[in-house]
């Protein structure tokens, strides 16, 4: 439940919320690419920090913090895995540099999570569907997409209730060996899937009884239009991309270890 809260759309009025989802999508793609380009800690940290103003501008600090907390465990895991594998396989590196490289990978992961979180926290599923539709994707597919997104939190909530109901019948999820533990999830997955199917059938019926698909050319109440600030976002994203590519090709970014000679 709390994991999803870090990615669930929150209705707020902020400049970021009002931006065109397509502009935000370009921003997400560019930040993703930039984060992948670098494996050095300094540029990754910069990528992380330049997004902070956006978080505050969108007034989603609390939710953002939640997404960070939710990824803490995974981040620790990534750090540990990198550290261990570098320690054993990377030859003559100092402990400092191993730590730094592992930290860089962890921060890269956090940048990805943060970008994702900002996008989904500030973009309503409706807007997303509209953006898809205006990009010429068939309405059926857009509708399926928005419905799927909309039902994720419902499903998450339901999963929690099912876990509670089975625990109330003596199910201990964290008991037994690995096979037993996987089997423990059967009583949770079956009701979850059955309910999801049942709900989708009901949805189909209610949609059909309201003449879904009767009109071929749909019109929308809202139309997306690229505005000044969207262009600003796209341009700044492109600048980030250009700087990233340029830096990664022509400039050797020093690592902190090198700078401190440790």
């Amino acid at each position: 439940m709390s994991i999803f809260d870090g990615f669930k759309f929150r209705s707020e009025s902020s400049p970021i919320h009002e931006m065109d989802p397509r502009a935000k999508f370009i921003y997400v793609c560019i930040l993703f690419s930039s984060a992948i380009i670098f494996n050095n800690i300094i540029p990754l940290l910069i990528l992380f920090l330049i997004q902070m103003p956006i978080v505050f501008l969108a007034k989603v600090q609390r939710e953002w913090l939640r997404s960070m907390k939710a990824s803490a465990l995974f981040a620790t895991l990534i750090f540990a895995m990198n550290f261990i594998s570098l320690y054993f396989y990377a030859g003559h590196e100092t402990l400092c540099s191993i730590t730094e490289r592992s930290a860089a990978m962890t921060i890269r992961f956090l940048v990805l999570i943060q970008t994702f979180s900002i996008f989904f926290l500030t973009t309503s599923p409706d807007m997303l569907g509209l953006a898809l539709e205006q990009s010429g994707i068939p309405y059926e597919i857009c509708f399926a997409f928005t419905t799927a997104v909309r039902f994720v939190p419902v499903l998450a909530e339901e999963a929690q209730t099912i876990i509670d109901a089975q625990r109330a019948r003596g199910l201990e999820l964290e008991s037994g060996n690995i096979i037993k533990r996987i089997r423990n999830y059967i009583p949770i997955l079956i009701p979850l899937i059955v309910n999801a199917i049942r709900r989708s059938m009901e949805l189909a019926e209610t949609m059909e009884s309201r003449a879904w698909g009767a009109v071929k050319n749909r019109t929308n109440l809202y139309a997306l239009r690229i505005k000044g600030r969207d262009i600003l976002l796209i341009v700044s994203s492109l600048i980030i991309l250009i700087i990233s590519v340029y830096t990664s090709i022509y400039i050797r970014v020093p690592s902190i270890t090198q700078m401190m000679h440790c």
Binding site: T161, R169, P191, V194
Partner: protein, 273 residues
């Protein structure tokens, strides 16, 4: 015995669902928890078997704090039947569904057999023994869920909205065996909106509103207190409404039971004749 001391509970998303609950439920009591949607009833009962732990305050079951033992251990004592049976049914047959909890609690095969038969019989489900629970109607699924909890014979039984989706006959049966279980010494806690059902059972009532208990008392007192019920968005039982309007004729005004009402009217009519 369940004791709650100044219990507060806030969900991770910030909703404060319980705000200072103090209560004490003795062994063998029969309690109905009533109140409007979102009053915190389900949240409250989820504290009684440790599914939720209080953000502040303490919950004690038979003197043991719920934070100190596992849910499985508490559940052995406190059976909680959820509102929606679709949140728990997963087995291929009704029989397996009832076995599930018994196996979790480590009963031996012989006891499991006996208890499954007993539960199937109690809830009139014998003929569905080998049927998939997914093939049953809503009301039947609800009874399977109930049977699967009653089967392990918990000493405290909590039913969340047990009357939803049940027809009159099933409700009557439900009422009878709830009373029967209570007479056998079980502690019964029902969460419900159904005033008529509560009026006929006549348990002790806890009235909730916005995460607080706003009243506690005998059904006769609570269900005839119109302003109080209004606060909790509950209507008076029909019988109580009638007797409230008849109080001008010198009839008692605190009547909720049909048989008692009939007796009073019968005597009065007899006098008149």
């Amino acid at each position: 015995m369940i004791v709650m001391e100044n219990v507060y509970f806030t969900y991770p998303n910030g909703v404060e669902a319980l705000r200072g609950i103090d209560l004490k439920i003795e062994d063998g009591e029969f309690i109905a928890i009533m109140g409007q949607n979102g009053a915190g009833k389900t949240t409250l009962v989820k504290h009684m078997n440790g599914l939720l732990k209080p953000t502040r305050g303490r919950v004690l079951v038979d003197g043991v704090e719920t934070t100190k033992v596992s849910v499985a251990k508490l559940a052995r004592k406190v059976g909680l039947v959820f509102q929606n049976p679709d949140h728990q049914l997963f087995s291929e047959t009704v029989e397996d569904e009832i076995r599930f909890a018994l196996k979790n609690f480590g009963f031996d095969e012989e006891t499991i057999k006996k208890r499954v038969d007993w539960a199937l019989n109690l809830l009139d489900l014998e003929r569905y023994r080998n049927v998939s629970p997914f093939m049953l109607s809503g009301g039947e699924r609800k009874r399977v869920a109930l049977a699967s909890v009653l089967a392990w014979d918990p000493s405290i039984i909590i039913l969340d909205e047990p009357t939803i989706g049940q027809d009159y006959r099933q409700k009557e049966r439900l009422r009878q065996f709830i009373m029967q279980l209570n007479q056998q010494g079980k502690t019964i806690i029902i969460v419900t909106h159904d005033v008529e059902f509560v009026a006929e059972c006549s348990p002790k009532i806890l009235l909730m509103r916005e995460g607080k208990i706003i009243a506690e008392g005998e059904a006769r007192e609570i269900l005839t207190d119109e302003p109080l019920l209004y606060q909790a968005s509950i209507s008076m039982p029909e019988i109580a409404k009638i007797f409230k309007n008849l109080s001008a004729f010198g009839l008692p005004s605190k009547v909720i039971d049909v048989y008692e009402a009939a007796n009073i009217l019968y005597e009065r009519l007899g006098d008149a004749r």
